[in-house]
Symmetry: none
Subunit: 199 residues, 4 copies
DNA sequence: AATGAATGAGACTTCATTCAT
DNA sequence: TATGAATGAAGTCTCATTCAT
């Protein structure tokens, strides 16, 4: 007697709720500061039920870092390296990134923890690092395009890309607000300067 | 019976050794990942002796964050807002900052933890935040000076200052190496772009 | 709606399969070392289904010890106390016992557990103890017969019977092999000595 | 400041008390049936303190099996294979063994558990098995001596030795009393028959 | 009857802190 | 001051049992 469709959906929802609670708590309380009990309470799930969905705390942490990465990276990587007008593309990319980073507080705090202590979370770090490389590579391409077209000043592109991603994670770390607000818009224009636009 | 001078010095050294070990371990293993036993072993001090110098773990953590701040902030704040040539001053500041951040891995990883989880470490965060404000303020002044002298493009100065400090903590987070190396020099020039230099 | 004959048979088979798995596992992993999940997997039955056939773990354990006892005791007690030639009867009994004990590894390991920790499994122990008494009594009778007929030396019979059953459970404990093999035959002749045969 | 002699002695006593409690409990309740809490209570020691002396439950179990083995094996192996009068030596050996096994209930129940589930306690079994081999070997020698001198009937010696050790562990398993009593003496003479004495 | 998710009690273990020496 | 044994609270995880489907 397999599970009914309704039950299956319910379980998927439940799993997601646990994961969301875990992300929030891991982000704000840290790995050891977060107890399974807290997660269960926050997700309105019984203590033991957490283990129905995640083998152990470590796996739950890993899932908290890795699972949202798919959607997130897709959004972050959504820009065109071969754009006709690289300056406009850059502007749009920066705008989107800033707004995205403004709105995703918990997850990015979690990411910052993993990035800050790679040897403590090797599996999670591995995945993040891979994405990070991909992102920097793609940004680097767009910059090269801009330099080619003479709208960006000539400079090594990878350091700039690295600085840019550092800046993104850095502002997320430095800001305590949870949602996007006008304040974040102020960052767009100076952040663009990093790429050395020629007007 | 008062302690001899030699004993007093010895104790000061011991305390510092414990603090250094604590910083390294808190940085790499996190707060609850770091045990008093590990700290004692790393500092080559007996287990119970740690409590002779620090009341409890929390205070030791606080000291790990706060005590190095004095020297560190002095170095970071060592630039002249009223410089004759703000561009040169900026260049020197950025160079110094990058080199400084390159060389202080453990402590800054620790700082990033506190900044990322402010409500978990309120006392420590308070101090760091205060320093951060002071730093941004001072950088903002230097930028204003540059804009006044027409060597920097006009833009809101605080967002730029914030971006700059974000960038600093961000590159520290993104790099795993423990010491300054030539690689870090690549960041200086693009980081300068952030301020919108006019040549 | 009563169950069809086929269903009834199926359930009986299923119950036996669970019991067999339980015996094997209880024997090799011990009571708490054995989980319902393991039993279910081993019996190729769903987890919850185990509880359809056995109220709880304790009852399943009890059944594991008690149910096979019927067949087993029948075989063990199958010898003739009033045999014409008690020496031959003894020889045949010992041979049969050794072969039987050689072939029933799991169950006897389980029995040994219960016998070794009587106060932990009082109900199970009770039953085994009763059978044990019966067995010793019957062996004692056969010995007496032999002594009467002058083919066994005179000695107290109960201690000999007890030693004999001890020896049987002891060799089972000391041997790791699961099936009867020629090795076991070596034990027959010396075991017979226990009874003090006169030739 | 190393520990004082008195403290060291105290710790040794404490460790032994824990070990003794563990042996008793493991014997009567089994491995999983025995909790650290129970052991601590029985040894009149705080819960956490158990871990000062034994890394974890498994190690405590191993120590419970292995540490008493030294004294025990010494006593069990204390007989002379080259005795002038092997019959007398055998008689003395059996007497001593029976009395020894009568008086060491808990430890031998524990031994029986390990022997019965070797794959569950591989490390402990290893040690016991080694001792067992040594014992059988030595008994075998004494039997050979007796056969040589014509006071024991000719038969394979190893099976007899194995039967004898089986018998010893078997009677220990079958008897519930904790101390040596006259009852045990009844076993001596029939047990001797096993070796096929010629009078 | 059959299934497997849900529950929470209870086990092991770690570790900050206390304290006697 | 220095040491490390003693304590027990708190955390993770397992698993028998229940129960809705």
């Amino acid at each position: 007697m397999p599970l009914s469709e309704e039950q299956r959906l319910n379980m998927i929802k439940k799993r997601q709720k646990i994961l969301d609670s875990a992300i929030t708590l891991f982000a704000s309380e840290g790995y050891e500061g977060t107890t399974i009990k807290k997660i269960a309470e926050s997700a309105e799930v019984s203590f033991g039920n957490v283990f129905t969905y995640f083998k152990d705390k470590e796996q739950l942490f890993l899932a908290s870092v890795v699972e949202p990465l798919g959607t997130f990276s897709e959004q972050v990587l959504d820009f065109n390296t071969d754009a006709e007008d690289p300056l406009v593309e850059l502007q749009e990319m920066v705008t989107k990134h800033i707004q995205l980073f403004a709105g995703v507080k918990s997850y990015l705090t979690l990411v910052a923890q993993v990035v800050g202590q790679p040897h403590r979370y090797p599996a999670a770090f591995e995945q993040l690092d891979q994405f990070h490389d991909q992102l920097r590579e793609k940004i680097s391409c767009l910059i090269k395009n801009g330099q080619h077209k003479g709208v960006l000043m000539k400079q090594d592109t990878m350091p700039v890309a690295t600085l840019y991603t550092s800046l993104l994670i850095g502002i997320r770390l430095n800001n305590t607000d949870t949602r996007y607000s006008k304040i974040w818009d102020q960052y767009i224009s100076p952040a663009l300067q990093l790429f050395g636009p020629i007007n």
